[in-house]
């Protein structure tokens, strides 16, 4: 190879490295600024030091009020539930909690009847995009890379590749400014919860329903995640309380039995699904409103004090 070719190669490589560094850091900088709900960021940056943490999907995000639990138990509490997320994602959240410096004493895990174990027909997914702005954290980066079939090794070499998942968020920040929270989705308060007032539009006159779902398609992946959550909490001396939140439809037959069977008395499982019979507590059939969330959080607090 001639000297000229070698010089050309070096010059080209240097230009690539320079642009890669600049672009990568530019994306990382603006992606984080776009997001309104920064709870995962607080967790991975070790800025959350709470006694109790709430995990689950929207039913936990809307239905469990950490402020009430804090007042009732005198223990600090924070809600880390993410709407639309499945149990696999909840396991990831637990991994991030365990990976952080400050472990909680208690985790309240919200069971969704029957989406926690049902593989299809329910709108819960692994909400990986919630993790994207935090790929600067090594653990989060590993999780995201594995989920997206990205090379972890390459993410360590190229900042642009490392942050490419945030490219659209960076553009959004530059074009729209910071994200405006959505009332039903991510309008979280300082306790991490998103409590909703009254009833959902069109659900003002809710009527108690017969079972809405059938439990006949248990997902092996979800079952494994449930077992992992139980074992990981035990391994790290975190007290796990699993709760079935109040719902405004009859519980899915056989679902509770299956949860009890899987957890084998290794954690506290409390079923509140038929606790509230009046529609004033419900935003819609599956979600509590502010009034319901406060009442439900008082019930959880009583259990925490009792145990």
């Amino acid at each position: 190879m001639s000297k000229k070719i070698i010089y050309k190669l070096i010059a080209f490589t240097l230009i690539i490295i320079l642009i890669d560094q600049g672009l990568g850091h530019f994306i990382a900088h603006y992606a984080g600024k776009y997001k309104f709900d920064k709870r995962i960021g607080l967790l991975v940056d070790n800025k959350l030091d709470k006694d109790i943490m709430i995990l689950g999907s929207s039913r936990a995000l809307n239905g469990i009020d950490p402020e009430t639990i804090q007042k009732q138990t005198s223990l600090s509490c924070y809600n880390l539930a993410i709407n639309g997320s499945n149990i696999e994602f909840h396991e990831t959240m637990l991994d991030l909690i365990i990976n952080s410096k400050n472990h909680p004493k208690i985790i309240v895990y919200n069971i969704d009847d029957p989406a926690t174990l049902s593989g299809s027909g329910h709108e819960v997914v692994y909400r990986k995009e919630e993790l994207f702005p935090y790929v600067y954290n090594e653990k989060v980066n590993e999780i995201v890379a594995n989920r997206l079939d990205k090379s972890v090794w390459a993410t360590k070499i190229s900042p642009t590749y490392h942050n490419n998942i945030n490219f659209i968020n960076a553009i959004k920040y530059l074009t729209r400014g910071a994200e405006i929270p959505s009332y039903e989705i991510n309008n979280v308060n300082e306790f991490g919860a998103n409590l909703m007032d009254g009833h959902q539009k069109g659900k003002e006159n809710l009527i108690y329903q017969k079972p809405l779902f059938k439990f006949n398609n248990e997902s092996a992946i979800y079952t494994k995640s449930l077992l992992n959550i139980v074992s990981k909490c035990r391994k790290h001396n975190i007290k796990l309380i699993m709760v079935f939140p109040p719902i405004f439809y009859a519980p899915t037959p056989k679902f509770e039995d299956r949860i009890v069977e899987l957890t084998k008395n290794e954690c506290l499982v409390i079923n509140y699904s038929e606790e509230f019979k009046e529609n004033r507590f419900f935003y819609n059939h599956g979600h509590l409103n502010r009034q319901g969330a406060i009442a439900f959080s008082k019930l959880i607090s009583q259990q925490i004090i009792k145990n």
Binding site: I15, I16, D20, R147, L148, N164, I165, F167, I168, I171
Partner: protein, 461 residues
Amino acid sequence: MLLGASYYFYMVWKPIYILLIIISTLIDYYCGIKMGRLETKSQRKPYIIISIVSNLLILGAFKYFNFFSTAANDIAQLLDISYAASYLNVLLPMGISFYTFQTMSYSIDIYKGSIKPEQHLGKFALYVTFFPQLVAGPIERAKNLLSQFHFEYKYDHDRTVSGLRLILWGLFKKIVIADQLSSMVSHVFDNPAGANGFSIYFGSLLFAQQIYCDFSGYSDIAQGSARIMGIRLMDNFVFPFYATSFNNFWSRWHTSLMQWFRDYIMFPLIRKRWKWPIVFVFVFLISGLWHGAGWTFIIWGGINGLMVVYSKATEKFRNRLAIKVGLDKVPRIRHGLQIITVFNIFALPCVFFLAKSFEDSKILIKNYFVGWGDVIEKITLNVDGARQDILYLGKEFESFVLIIVLMVIFEIIQWSMSKDSIDNFFIKKARWKTWSIYIFLTFAIVIMSFIEKTPFIYFQF
């Protein structure tokens, strides 16, 4: 070493299926050697039959058994005959349609006396399994590929740069265009019942672009990788969407397969005095079946065959018409119209290519005519967020705009390339321009390579 690398490459996916390639290799090698020692075609006939039957048996068992078994069951039900359809629960071996066709072409060429058999088993095995083109072509001929394995490899800087350029361009097509369009296309065709006419039409257009970038991107990567190793593979795509007619389109699209059909099916049938329109439709029906074991693929092939026949039959008439309306005086506008027409004719029947079942294709065809009345209102007023569903096909506004911008850039670059060649497109520019394009392509690939796995579409064939 290349043979070992090729076997390893295939075994990374599913090790056991390498046995199929080895069996196919040994049979064709044996038949080739035997045929090479015989003087006349009639003496060679038993060996060509062994070669073709064994290859078709492998292909039939792994790819078509379930389709024909179900079809036999359907016919039996129609005729009120009791027939228990059996089902083979096996994974389709990757690239099976490509390597079986490649080995068959070797045997047929020896049978016809166009080539001499390869004596070196290792070199022949490499011809069957050469890793850059093993799983998705181009379907090479022994005359071109096998002969190149007899030359010693020497490093050549210009050739390496040319190969790397092709790989870069192929990756851009695959990652930056095809993979980004994939989720938009799925948004429509994974839920046929919920799709409306405009979305199906738009989704079909995007799919045409997706499959082109996916498949030609793979071919570019394969050609580029081979070129670095000193091997020149045949061109598989010659800017098909810039074709001047639908007939011309099919002489630019997946040329290695179309030339295979031309040499081994079309010409022999025409020599047997079959009428050309029947030959064309027949070949395209087989082409449909080659793409997938399902009625939807056969229909897709049939429609394309009929359109090619129409295109050929009306060529003179269309030329006269163009002169009459004065289009011959504005060749650029005429070519623009031809491009739009060819693109639409190719894209619209893709509904059958994309439908997961015959039932789905019926729903899609029915829904093709639904929702056109208020589509402009829905998109402009964004009723219930309809714009994201109908126009952005599930993407957010920013992602949608980004994809459109990248597609426009892709078309500009590709149009320039079509005027000369991919190599000359880069070579003939000032260095700063060439380097700017390299850098743009590189970072577009790096930035857009975050989506979930989207395997090459043609791997399934």
